[in-house]
């Protein structure tokens, strides 16, 4: 498999992972507003996550550039980190961030975690692939 095909496959997985993350955050946002009404509100935070993930997914899909992979990885991490943190730790409200503790599993939670983890892992691969590509271009 040549690097171009490999990169396209990797890009596809990252875009798909971010799309899953965006769709689930958007769907769960109304419920999160009920669970975390304080500060900025869970609904707002989840919609913001969905919007940013959607935008970055489109950017990566269109450009396939290294910076887009970096952004994609950061967005995936910005969802994956908190969902795991708030699952295991009862973090109180911090400033404008409401308490979003939720020790229970739900299909939505599991699916979004899988999507985010795939997006993060493959974004790292994508960054490596595009770095090599950039290096090759310079050498050539």
């Amino acid at each position: 498999m040549d690097d171009r095909t490999k990169e396209l496959l990797v890009r596809g997985v990252v875009v798909l992972g971010l799309a899953v993350d965006a769709v689930i955050h958007l769907g769960v946002a109304p419920a999160m507003e009920l669970a975390a009404p304080d500060g900025l509100g869970g609904g707002f935070l989840f919609r913001a996550q969905a919007t940013v993930a959607g935008l970055v997914a489109v950017l990566l899909l269109v450009t396939g550039r290294r910076w887009a992979y970096v952004l994609a990885g950061l967005v995936a991490l910005s969802a994956l980190g908190p969902v795991l943190l708030y699952h295991f730790v009862d973090v109180p409200a911090i400033g404008p961030t409401p308490s979003m503790y939720d020790p229970l599993w739900s299909p939505e939670k599991v699916i979004s975690i899988v999507g985010e983890a795939l997006a993060l892992a493959f974004a790292v691969v994508g960054v490596r692939l595009t770095s090599r590509r950039a290096a090759d271009t310079v050498r050539a």
Partner: protein, 127 residues
């Protein structure tokens, strides 16, 4: 003599109270003043406590009663009937209380919490 009178009154009151809660749909007039008192003191104790992501129910509740929903958690919850909230749907914020009106029809009403669908319980309503 006095003791016997008191015992008889107590027994009568007990019967009335039992009658009142067993047949809540009977006209209030039949039970009289003691029946009404029993009903109102009952509703004062009806509380659904939400603590550590679980519902604690007060046991069977009378039809049409008012139940307090007390949320002791740091996040919000809902008491949402499983028919997508058509029968009842009460949201209660972190550390807050809300009021739920029990359905008029006796039966079992399974419910859940919308943000946490794994939180489930059943409200038993007696006629």
């Amino acid at each position: 003599m006095d003791m016997r009178t008191i015992a008889a009154l107590a027994l009568a009151a007990g019967l009335l109270t039992g009658c009142g809660s067993d047949a809540a749909d009977a006209p209030t007039g039949t039970a009289g003043a003691s029946g009404t008192t029993a009903t109102s003191s009952e509703s004062a104790d009806l509380v659904i406590v939400i603590s550590d992501f679980a519902f604690e129910l007060p046991g069977p509740v009378p039809a049409g009663a008012t139940v307090t929903v007390r949320n002791e958690d740091g996040v919000g919850h809902t008491v949402t009937s499983d028919d997508d909230g058509a029968t009842f749907d009460v949201a209660v914020g972190p550390g807050e209380e809300a009021t739920l009106t029990v359905p008029q029809e006796a039966g079992d009403y399974p419910f859940h919490c919308r943000p946490h669908p794994a939180m489930t319980a059943t409200l038993v309503v007696e006629g």
